[in-house]
């Protein structure tokens, strides 16, 4: 380890970290926004579920590197455009979450839905304030997997010249400089742990009743 390298290159390291966070987390947010309505449809209409779930699992099987490269031909973007990575990771996030959302909404007890209806909740408000909150634990579990795998997938993008912490790997390798690679690995793992921790905390705050039940 050449420790002195790190303070001398904070601009490079922080820049790579920032790019990495943006490339990994925008897809999680966009994916969530897309997956909730799709999952809701899948939980309501069995025919749509029969289409969405198998499609999602096939999409999830396609290697990320392949998607990064084939997308420009479909989107008309440049091969080095970071948008390819964002779109690819969004597809994975949606593929992962649709199933979680559909299962979680399907698992909301019918009695609770009926009780909410009897109390005068209209379907839209019932969904937002009763069914969706009850689906939060499963949703958070899906988001944690999506966020952590996105964080490690972004660095693969460095192979095709996309920025982020993966750049530290390619550059460190070309310069035969393990310190740079190790810095990148440690930051990637730390980033994954921090984001994972944040999601756990968000999940706890979004489901106060779970803690209340556990303490008694």
């Amino acid at each position: 380890m050449v420790w002195g390298w790190i303070p001398r290159n904070t601009t490079l390291i922080v820049g790579a970290l920032g790019t990495h966070v943006v490339l990994a987390l925008i897809p999680v947010l966009v994916g969530l926004v897309i997956a909730v309505p799709l999952g809701w449809l899948a939980s309501r209409v069995p025919a749509l579920r029969a289409i969405f779930i198998p499609t999602a699992s096939v999409l999830y099987t396609i290697p990320s590197l392949a998607v990064f490269i084939v997308l420009p031909a479909i989107l008309g973007t440049q091969i080095l455009d970071p948008l390819n990575v964002v779109v690819a990771l969004t597809i994975y996030t949606v593929a992962l979450l649709v199933r979680s959302v559909a299962d979680a909404l399907g698992a909301v007890p019918a009695l609770i839905v009926a009780a909410a209806t009897a109390m005068g909740y209209r379907p839209g408000r019932r969904f937002v304030s009763v069914e969706l909150p009850l689906a939060v634990p499963v949703l958070i579990a899906g988001l944690r997997v999506a966020a952590v795998s996105n964080i490690s997938l972004v660095s693969v993008g460095a192979l095709i010249g996309v920025g982020g912490l993966g750049q530290l790997f390619t550059e460190g390798y070309q310069r035969d400089f393990p310190t740079e690679i190790l810095t990148g690995i440690v930051l990637t793992v730390l980033l994954a742990l921090v984001i994972d921790g944040i999601l756990v905390v968000v999940g706890r705050f979004a489901t106060p009743w779970a803690r209340a039940g556990a303490s008694t």
Partner: protein
Amino acid sequence: MTLLFSYLFDPAHWSGPGGIPARVGEHLFYSVLALALGAIVAVPLGAFIGHTHRGGFLVVGTANGMRALPELGLLTLLVLLIGINLLPVTIALAVLAVPPLLAGTYSGVRNVDAGAVDAARGMGMREWQILTKVELPNALPLVLGGFRAAALQVIATAAVAAYVSFGGLGRLLIDGLKTLDYSQMAAGAIMVAVLALVVEGLLALVQRAVVSPGLRGGGRRSPTAEITRTAVPARADNPEPAGVTS
């Protein structure tokens, strides 16, 4: 769109040492090595932890931590430390195979019906026999599920080996990027995806073939369950079922 397939469908690229079949062979070779190493490490460990019911938190922690490790970083670091040979490639890819295999084996063995394990112990089986004759066969669907996930991950990622001057389908990606030959990159990408999907399909068939029929089909519909189900109405017909009255 024609750019996507022009390299792939050119017959000139389907023969010789740099041809697509040779690259597929190399790709599978690295993948098999990595899966073997991953299985040697993860399956005994998962089986041991699942059998003894000790250290389960370790499995969850290790599996999640390893999932966050960036493959490209690990590979480049190992190559710089060990040198350019198959060892760093195998280790770096095996790291991907360990979490799903470990989690699959552990939860498979852990969740075997406690009654079956007790019955085996009561019949005088030794711990080793319980593990190999009762727990592992019952855990097979989850172990194989873990193996499928591992194989998919490893094949999808084995392309990184080309970055440290090995072969495999990643060669097409790296060489294509260097010469800005998009159709060559696309050929590599498409072949990786096809290979992953084909292997996934084949492993699904293998799983179907080797898993005990008693464990197949979602629910607990074993042959014995069939017998007990038919036995119930037969007993109901009996005006004095055993063990109820008298």
